[in-house]
Symmetry: none
Subunit: 472 residues, 2 copies
Amino acid sequence: MNFLYQALEQQLTKQIESGQLPLGSRLPSVRSLCKEQSLSKSTVLTAYARLEAAGLVNARPKSGYFVCYQPQSAVVKHRAEQAQPPAFINQDALLLDIMDQSSAFDICPGQTEPSCNEPLRRCLGRAARRQKGADQHYYNEPSGLLGLRKQLQRRCADGGSRVTEDQLVVTGGCQHSLLLALMAVTRPGDTVAVESPGFYGVLQLLESLGLKAVEIPSLVDTGLSPDALLMALQNWSISALVVMPAYATPTGACMTDQNRQRLVNIVAQYDLPVIEDDIYGDLTFALQRPRTLHSYAQDQGFDGVMLCSSISKSLSRDLRIGWIVPGRYLAEVKKLKLVTMLAGSHMSQLGLQMYMEEGSYERHIRHYRQQLVQQCAQLQQLIRQLFPDTVTYSQPRGGLVLWLELPEHIDTLALYNQARQFGISITPGQLFSSQDRYQNCLRLSFAQPWNEPRIAALKTLAGLVIEWTEPN
Amino acid sequence: MNFLYQALEQQLTKQIESGQLPLGSRLPSVRSLCKEQSLSKSTVLTAYARLEAAGLVNARPKSGYFVCYQPQSAVVKHRAEQAQPPAFINQDALLLDIMDQSSAFDICPGQTEPSCNEPLRRCLGRAARRQKGADQHYYNEPSGLLGLRKQLQRRCADGGSRVTEDQLVVTGGCQHSLLLALMAVTRPGDTVAVESPGFYGVLQLLESLGLKAVEIPSLVDTGLSPDALLMALQNWSISALVVMPAYATPTGACMTDQNRQRLVNIVAQYDLPVIEDDIYGDLTFALQRPRTLHSYAQDQGFDGVMLCSSISKSLSRDLRIGWIVPGRYLAEVKKLKLVTMLAGSHMSQLGLQMYMEEGSYERHIRHYRQQLVQQCAQLQQLIRQLFPDTVTYSQPRGGLVLWLELPEHIDTLALYNQARQFGISITPGQLFSSQDRYQNCLRLSFAQPWNEPRIAALKTLAGLVIEWTEPN
């Protein structure tokens, strides 16, 4: 064995033939492998080309190399596979790990029981008692429960969008809304413009639907840059834009009114379908929530903006209720809702409808907003106290999260794995890009109160960062 | 009008909607209104909260309540748009129409209230009362509620499949399971083998995912022909097979044990991923339900069969709970569940878990099976009595449906539109193929008891068929 590429080839062949790299899995990116194993790019490319020639992997343009070989030796269950991996090397595993701990919005999940929304519980109990035979025997109507749609219509009105009940479709959450919206306006192979840094759920959706992403810079304070989008539109063929104009994850950024107007002018001119993720819109720190892009588009008669939202961030992640106002794509979205999940639950929808009708949602949001203002300020103060001065953070005016930028040499994916040993959960920056960016950034949430365990967790995290920062 | 707050709410609503209290004006303070109208503080606060929920007023902290509604004289409701279209010319519109009437399994939907499953309602009520803060604040674990997965494991065992809790993923229903399974094993442009006639939901999924269908003949009694599949595999490159071996829709066909074994031999030889739709498996007329393809495949060490099912047909369409046992595609399916809907509802899963734990599901199924045996026999007798001799029908031994074949010149899509005028709902044969087949066939369901309105509906339908059959 003389050449480095042969060693690499042999190593990967073994992993594929043993099933360790199963059929359909993606090989490490060329760049990451170069870094990890200190190899040159041509060494890795040679090894990959040989694996391809041997029929073990397939190259897919702009996506990477995928295993296309299935070990014939009968299907053994590898126990080792089920053990917790010591470190997370790809986004899928990382995301699954975060979701497994239910920890995307809590720095130390499971330590304390969050307070329960009693009025919501009562409404759900009432809805359960009102279940009828028809609910059990028939599917709920394709657009969702009419009474709930009427309430959601008012949520839209709060953002300035004028929507009738029959222009709105209830979904199984905002992620489901995004799926329907993307399926409605793209075909596999299309390119979609997304924010960078931007929501990982969208990146994962694009990958699963065979779509390409072009990442448009999103600023920490004012969000998506309309000018950058314009430049992208002038240079590439783009099928849709996914954007979170209000309190975007992971930065908490909020687009200015001027930028919203300018963005709508641009997309209307290019007739570009826009998927507006408004999931954090209700969680403003101000007296009035920002107007939706959808409402700006309505003002100038452009019906290509699809408004997506849910109550998962503002009220309950458990109800699995979101909605979409698909504009000109209404028929297609209704069909896709049927195709992907047939219908929603009458009981859950009725519970939410009653909760909204009695004014409890408004009351809850008002209270929650005040709580979030405080919790955000507390987090910022704690960061100033505990973290080195070299750490900067964003200044959200709504939402649940802020964005921490650490010194460049700190790898927050490694930090994630370190923190995890202490039961501490952070969201590393790499999750928010498909292009190995933001390695020194991380997202923190202020969705939960800063009680003792959470403050202690933040201290431990700060300690880890300081260890990285200071020479031993 | 029972409550004081309702009278007050109505009075103020009128004043706002008439413009008497214009946009921006302030409502009387709570204290002054209490005094003026001799009301309690809580009555006034309740009324104000409901006005706020209705989007008519805004509460501003420490300032009071302000009108935020502008009466719109310009909002015209187009009645014509809401009128029912006269006829359905494509599958999408047809399917949407059927779902709109909640009528895929009831010949005269909405005539009578079906009986309600009280024990299920009780379990859901209990689950609602047990909602915790954590359920509202965190997403449910990616694979679904552990206790429910343990129960579902037993459902799988009933079909001969040995499945551990961690090999099973809870989904948002069987249609959602099929979506995940197809996304896991295909890429756009691939060809998938399906049954013909076969479930329209699968055909729609294929179309939405950019997949091609090759239709494999499925016999009215024994279902999918393994020989026809073998021929297809020898001639085309096929990425997956979707098959419903137990009481398939639309015929009610059930594959024989020999055919199951033979089919598994073939797919194992070709290493072909199989998506087994087992949604009707529990609804057998026999003492023991048929063994799953998945269990045959396990016996010979082939882990390419993905077992999909739900309780939508056997218990409740409203819970939106299904599952999938993805075999070798477990990691991919878990990821796709996250990507398409993030998580399921803890409350609904807990309700179903408790219902299954207390043995109610077994009891319900036992009872429902007996009911279905009778209702199927009654339907067959009614067909013999009412329809011309030239009409033939299938002889299902389980499930919810049978398949009617009318004389060749009868177009059941036209018949659908005729019947619809009388409030009668049938499922035309064209829905079950992508190739304009089965124009003279239709699916009837025996899921509901044959009471007077349903017998009358069947008589009317038979009359329409006779009109088509006999010369004027």
